[in-house]
């Protein structure tokens, strides 16, 4: 036990002290924080680059009713469209909107001339504004007042709640829930792969260095393998923890600096007001004014989620890294790893693919089975987690995972202890099979 701790300590410290680890630890959250900052920046600064649009209105009625938005302004033009196109200055104006004389009856003729490929938000903004104006005009002609219509219009948005009567009365938000689960599953997939390969490299390093002979004359091969696997697992957890803490810190700082919350709500409210024609679009605002995303996140049991994440990360990692260790022990060089890597990678990749399907349909048969089978369960169960799978499923999955990694570790240890001293031999599957039954 003393030796396992020493080995574990070395594996951990040498990796954590590496420049690449420190860089990754800092860069990861910075990238994530930067991404968040970038999106906030984009959403906030739409208004700053105004797109001025000249409007040539042959119908004579629509142009003066076009209201400016914070990103698009309209200037009515007295020239004909031919002249306007002739004298267009791309430095001062974004484009020319041409409204033909029969626009209200025949809106297909409305044209936007621009220098470059037009921005989608500008296009949709103009479209929705014109649509609104033309509809209003048509209503007027039909003798329907807008106020009357507004009072008829109804918007329905389903509140989603679990059927169970126990527990607090929480609300579902399918999209965000699925997203959280998927990100968790993806992280497990990435971590297992990343750190599993590190285990393999570490084993190979010791083998090709020949230090392994000195080591296993002192410690049991199994201790050496487990010390390495657990040490690297701790490196992974450390990295994950640093990421969580730093990402949280970076995003908090960034959003505090770039926007204070009331501003954001102001802008969003404004946007909401200006787009009454699109009830289907997510606005990020409920009537209460609380952003939906925060509400959805608070509806998830984050502690439970985090704990299961750590469990499935460790379980999945232990399961796969034992196999990676066996591969590292069996081969002499990196190039020889390919043939053995594939069968180990396939279930992992498969789990990832299945999880994209399970995300949209978490209670499916497919989701159930692959969240129980140990080789795919760490990723797939994580995707199901935010949807509150039955406790029996969760426990069964965990038990299967524990049994799974005990089995692969046992298997790997047998290959490991033979392979680690085997040099210059082209190893085949048949060979590995034989190693399983060698006496010590």
């Amino acid at each position: 036990m003393h030796n396992i701790l020493l080995i574990l300590q070395r594996e951990y410290l040498t990796r954590v002290r590496k420049k690449s680890f420190i860089i990754m630890s800092i860069l990861g959250p910075l990238l994530m924080g930067g991404l968040v900052a970038f999106f906030i920046y984009l959403s906030l600064n739409q208004g700053e680059s105004m797109s001025a649009i000249r409007v040539v209105d042959d119908s004579g009625r629509l142009a003066q009713q076009l209201r400016d938005s914070e990103s698009v302004s309209f200037e009515e033009d007295t020239f004909s469209i031919v002249v306007a196109r002739e004298i267009f200055n791309p430095d001062t104006h974004y484009g020319i909107l041409y409204i033909p004389a029969d626009a209200p009856e025949n809106p297909e003729g409305i044209t936007l001339y621009t220098e470059k490929q037009p921005n989608l938000t500008v296009v949709s903004l103009i479209e929705s504004r014109l649509q609104l104006l033309i509809e209003e005009e048509k209503l007027n002609r039909a003798g329907i007042r807008k106020s009357m219509l507004d009072s008829i219009k109804t918007r329905v948005s389903l509140v989603q709640k679990p059927v169970s009567t126990t527990g607090e009365d929480r609300e579902f938000s399918a999209g965000i829930t699925a997203g959280v689960g998927f990100v968790g599953g993806l992280l497990i997939y990435l971590f297992v792969l990343l750190y599993g390969v590190q285990v393999m490299r570490g084993v190979m390093e010791e083998k090709t260095n020949r230090i392994v002979e000195v080591l296993i004359s002192t410690v049991r091969p199994f201790h050496l393998m487990m010390g390495k696997i657990v040490g690297i697992a701790l490196v992974g957890l450390t990295q994950f923890l640093i990421w969580v803490v730093l990402t949280f810190a970076v995003t908090t700082v960034v959003s505090a600096v770039m926007v204070d919350r009331s501003d954001l709500t102001e802008i969003q409210k404004e946007q909401l007001e200006k787009m009454p024609q699109r009830p289907g679009m997510e606005t990020g605002l409920e009537k209460t004014g609380e952003p939906e995303i925060l509400k959805a996140l608070s509806s998830l049991n984050l502690v439970k989620l985090l704990l299961t994440f750590v469990f499935f990360f460790l379980g999945g990692y232990l399961l796969y890294s034992a196999m990676f260790a066996a591969i590292g022990a069996a081969v002499d060089s990196e190039t020889d790893t390919q043939q053995f890597m594939l069968p180990v990678m396939v279930p992992l990749i498969f789990a990832y693919v299945v999880s994209t399907i399970v995300m949209t349909n978490p209670e499916s048969e497919l989701g159930y089975w692959f969240s129980i089978i140990p080789f795919t369960s760490p990723v797939v169960m994580m995707v199901r987690m935010p949807f509150d799978p039955p406790l029996t499923d969760l426990l069964l999955s965990m038990a299967a995972l524990v049994a799974g990694f005990i089995f692969t570790t046992w298997l790997a240890a047998r290959i490991y202890r033979t392979g680690i001293l085997m040099y210059g031999k082209k190893v085949t599957y048949r060979e590995l099979w034989k190693w399983l039954f060698y006496k010590e």
């Binding site: 070395r10 040498t14 390093e205 010791e206 260095n209 020949r210 230090i211 002979e213 000195v214 004359s217």
Partner: protein, 309 residues
């Protein structure tokens, strides 16, 4: 009769395709320098791995100080494998401390002893260097220090002199002899017969998975002598030949500088003095010497199957 630190009895080790060790038995006396000899692929490494408990024997038994090998015994051994290796990216000092602690030493103890050894081998300046930055010879020194640092009663060294220049070879030999004088048993596996003659008190020779010879070095060399004497003398070759009859056989006779050199084989129970007596009246004897085969000759003789143990 000193106790044996190792008793190896009927050890058999089989791999899938071949038998690496076949009924090997011998004893390693406490305090000896023991040469484990044999051609490549004879099974030396397999045996060393069994003693180190890296693998176990399929049959037979290995005892360490009259006890069946147990995991605790590993700490009483220091093993330098033939293929050397260290973590390339780790600092020398840190690595040495790590390996010493795996052998059960405390950090403080390891640091203290390492400082002494590094001073002795003149590599103190390398403490904080990465192994990568060291020359091959330097790495070998570091590895040797790591092997002996915990001062085990039994050292197992597989080809310890390869990769060293002559100065360092003598430095290592000197240290080995010092440790032997302090009571350490040293098991050397080597092809270099000069160092066997120079250092070893006992040997075991393994060939084709079997032990073919073992015992004290001087006994073995005597056992393989062919009763040949070399003499240098002044006088006539004819008179020499005349004096040799019966149990004596002149093998060759050649002039050498201002004298003659001859080799004479003696049969049976003739005492050395009798040969001298037979010669002394005929020629002027300058030197007289019994030819004892070198370990190299014994090795070749045995391995080529010219002799049987």
């Amino acid at each position: 009769m000193p106790d044996n630190i190792l008793s190896i009895t009927d050890v058999v080790k089989r791999y899938a395709a071949h038998t690496a060790l076949d009924q090997v038995s011998f004893e390693v006396p406490e305090g000896s320098v023991f040469g484990l000899l044999g051609p490549n692929g004879a099974g030396k490494t397999s045996l060393i791995r069994i003693i180190n408990q890296i693998t176990g024997p399929d049959e037979g038994i290995v005892k360490f100080r009259q006890q069946k090998l147990q995991p605790e015994h590993v700490r009483l051994m220091g093993y330098l494998p033939e293929e050397r290796g260290l973590y390339r990216k780790m600092e020398v000092g840190e690595q040495a401390i790590y390996l010493a602690r795996l052998k059960g030493m405390s950090r403080a103890e390891a640091v203290q002893r390492l400082k002494t050894w590094f001073g002795k081998f003149d590599i103190t300046a390398w403490w904080r260097k990465k192994v990568d930055e060291l020359s091959k010879g330097m790495q070998q020194k570091v590895q040797f220090i790591i092997t002996v640092l915990h001062e085990p009663p039994l050292l197992i060294l597989d080809e310890p002199f390869t990769g060293f220049d002559p100065i360092n070879v003598s430095l290592i030999k000197q240290e080995l002899l010092r440790m032997k004088n302090e009571g350490t048993t040293i098991m050397l596996s080597t092809h270099r017969m000069e160092s066997v003659e120079e250092l070893c008190s006992h040997i075991a020779l393994i060939d084709k998975s079997r032990k073919v010879l073992d015992g004290p070095v001087h006994d073995i060399r005597r056992r393989y002598k062919s009763n040949i004497f070399e003499i240098r003398y002044r006088g006539h070759g004819i008179s020499l030949a005349n004096s040799l009859w019966g149990p004596y056989k002149l093998l060759d006779n050649n002039p050498e500088d201002d004298h003659q050199y001859a080799r004479i084989q003696v049969s049976g129970e003739v005492k050395p003095n009798q040969l001298v007596e037979a010669l002394i009246g005929q020629v002027e004897l300058i030197s007289y010497n019994e030819i004892i085969p070198s370990m190299n000759e014994v090795f070749i003789k045995v391995v080529k199957g010219e002799a049987r143990a």
